[in-house]
Amino acid sequence: MLTLERVSKVYRVGTFGTQPLNAVRDVSLTVPPGAVVSLIGESGSGKSTIGRMVLRLTSVTSGTIAFDGRNVAGLNGHRARKEYYRHVQGVFQDPFSCFNPIFPVDRVFELLRGEYFAATPDTEWRASMRRSIERVSLDPGQVLGRYPHQLSGGQLQRLLIARALMLDIRLLVADEIISMLDASTRIDVLNLLGDLREEGLGILFVTHDLSLGTYVSDTTVILRRGRIAETGPTGEVFASPRHPYTRGLLASVPRMHRTWAEADAELDAETGPCPVHDSAGSEHPADPVEVGAGHFVGCFSNDTCPE
């Protein structure tokens, strides 16, 4: 469904916009229907940039992003783009910033209606709005007509997902949507993503927390400074991480019944040599190498690797 093929993004920074900043480098991945792909990495590793490129909020420097085989960058004209957003939507970290504090929360739905459902009769529109709110386990009577400050972050976050669900959505880009939520609300939102996945939705799930990523995701992509450090089936990456960066991230994830010191002790176990440098002679020398079924590992020394 969604395919990224050697996608890179270079920002121009510095006083005169002359310094290149390689935010995303040669990232390839696919999100099939009914699958959750987690993008995990430290702050600044390029996760949001990938999400924003998929949503066409920022341009692609090189490589292609295709949805159902069509290059997303080549969507010309209002109609083609509108059609794209009917199927692809994004939800972001701070739900409060998506609502206007002076209007009831219903307003975000009204804006959508103006764009996509202008011809839908009132009763039909309200019924489908209520259905989609119920789908995210909210009681329409309890949330509609309320102001943003009267609802919790989790409720607002779910309303934004409900709004996306009003469309014929097939891919959801969820960027850090749970990092501001408390434990109880987090699991509700994660479960919701799991249910939507069952219904066939593809989800690109951006997070810096590995443990939350593993709970719902099928495929994990670990990003380091814009490059894929490791990727594979979530269980596989999680159970036998190969890249030292993945292992370090895993050791930093706070766990309820294991101290950081204990995690470090496990980390000290031998990592093995860099599989990329071991496999000389491939077409793109810096590309990740397959170490198990669908499990790829990138070069350990990211920065010194030949470009």
Binding site: G154, L181, I187, T214, Y215, V216, P254, R255
Partner: protein, 316 residues
């Protein structure tokens, strides 16, 4: 110094009535101890932090007390608190990072802050640089602008600044929540390091992340709707929680490596009550699977084992 919060009640005045944000919060933090304070959004954690430092115009001290080393803190008296603020009790506020003035270099900003609190910058500078180095920042950060520092670096600057006077009590309100796991760990370990070196006496570590609290806290207090629900040594609370709310909160945290397909975990059904007009008796009763007649009366916060207190009629 030991910190004792007893039955603290602080309400917000609003047009629609008073919000009982803190309405019987009790906890005791030993000298040199780190206490984690957890609970759902809106349960009063930040209100507790603010109450111990400075109440804003809408906050009212309705009852209860806070003692620091046996001496009562005049929390309702803004001027009397002046002597304690920063020097004795210091706060890293929620969203402190985004509050840094973007147009000032870090050094200048710290200088102004210190002078405003009656500390000579020239005298404090050596110690400031020494402590910045302790948390892995070189003295050069003083010459940089906030935008030039990563979130983790900024939060370490805030930590050093807020503890420069060796306060008896530090309140860290979601000090690491906006950071990625690697930076989160670095800042959390810096907090522990400062405690170990005696730069801070006791610490209240407010967080919604139970697993993080488990890493650094000696004791934990769970709050619910403005009150203390349970308080115990960290390992005891995590392994043998007694309050139904604590149990449900803990089971809502995905264990690392767990997946929805193997075992689906559930959040706590329902949502916390409105604090404008909170229910009588136990405030958790509408969501509690064990609720019975007696829960119409407020359960006392009593000791059930050494250092382990619970407010629940069903907790044995």
């Amino acid at each position: 110094m030991t910190v004792e919060v007893s039955e603290l009640r602080v309400h917000y005045r609003t047009l629609r009535g008073s919000v009982q944000a803190l309405d019987g919060a009790s906890m005791e933090v030993g000298d040199g101890a780190i206490m984690g304070v957890v609970g759902e959004s809106g349960c009063g954690k930040s209100t507790l932090g603010k109450s111990l430092i400075r109440m804003d115009g809408r906050m009212r001290h309705v009852g209860g007390s806070v003692r620091l080393g046996g001496e009562e803190l005049p929390i309702g008296d803004d001027r009397a608190m002046q002597a304690f603020r920063y020097h004795e009790v210091s706060l890293i506020p929620q969203y402190a990072m985004s509050a840094l003035n973007p147009t000032r270099r870090i050094g200048r900003m710290i200088g102004e802050l210190l002078e405003s609190r009656g500390v000579r910058f020239s005298e404090a500078k050596r110690e400031l640089t020494r402590r910045l180095e302790l948390v892995g920042l070189d003295g050069d950060v003083l010459k940089r602008f906030p935008i030039e520092l990563s979130g983790g670096m900024k939060q370490r600057v805030v930590l050093v600044l807020s503890t420069l006077r060796d306060p008896s009590l530090l309140i860290a309100d979601e000090a690491t929540s906006a950071l990625d796991v690697a930076n989160q760990r670095a800042v959390a370990e810096a907090l522990v390091g400062f405690r170990d070196r005696g730069f801070v006496g006791a610490m209240l570590f407010i967080s919604h992340d139970l697993a993080l609290v488990a890493q650094i806290a000696d004791t934990v207090t769970v709050m619910y709707a403005g009150r203390s629900a349970e308080s115990a040594p960290a390992s005891e609370l995590l392994r043998r929680p007694r309050h139904p709310y604590t149990r449900m909160l803990l089971s809502a945290v995905p264990t690392v490596g767990a997946t929805i397909d193997e075992r689906r975990q559930e959040g706590i059904p329902g949502s916390p009550p409105s604090l404008l007009d909170p229910p009588t008796g136990c405030r958790f009763k509408d969501r509690c699977p064990l609720a019975f007649d007696q829960c119409e009366t407020r359960p006392p916060f009593v000791e059930v084992a050494p250092g382990h207190r619970v407010a629940c009629w069903k907790a044995e």
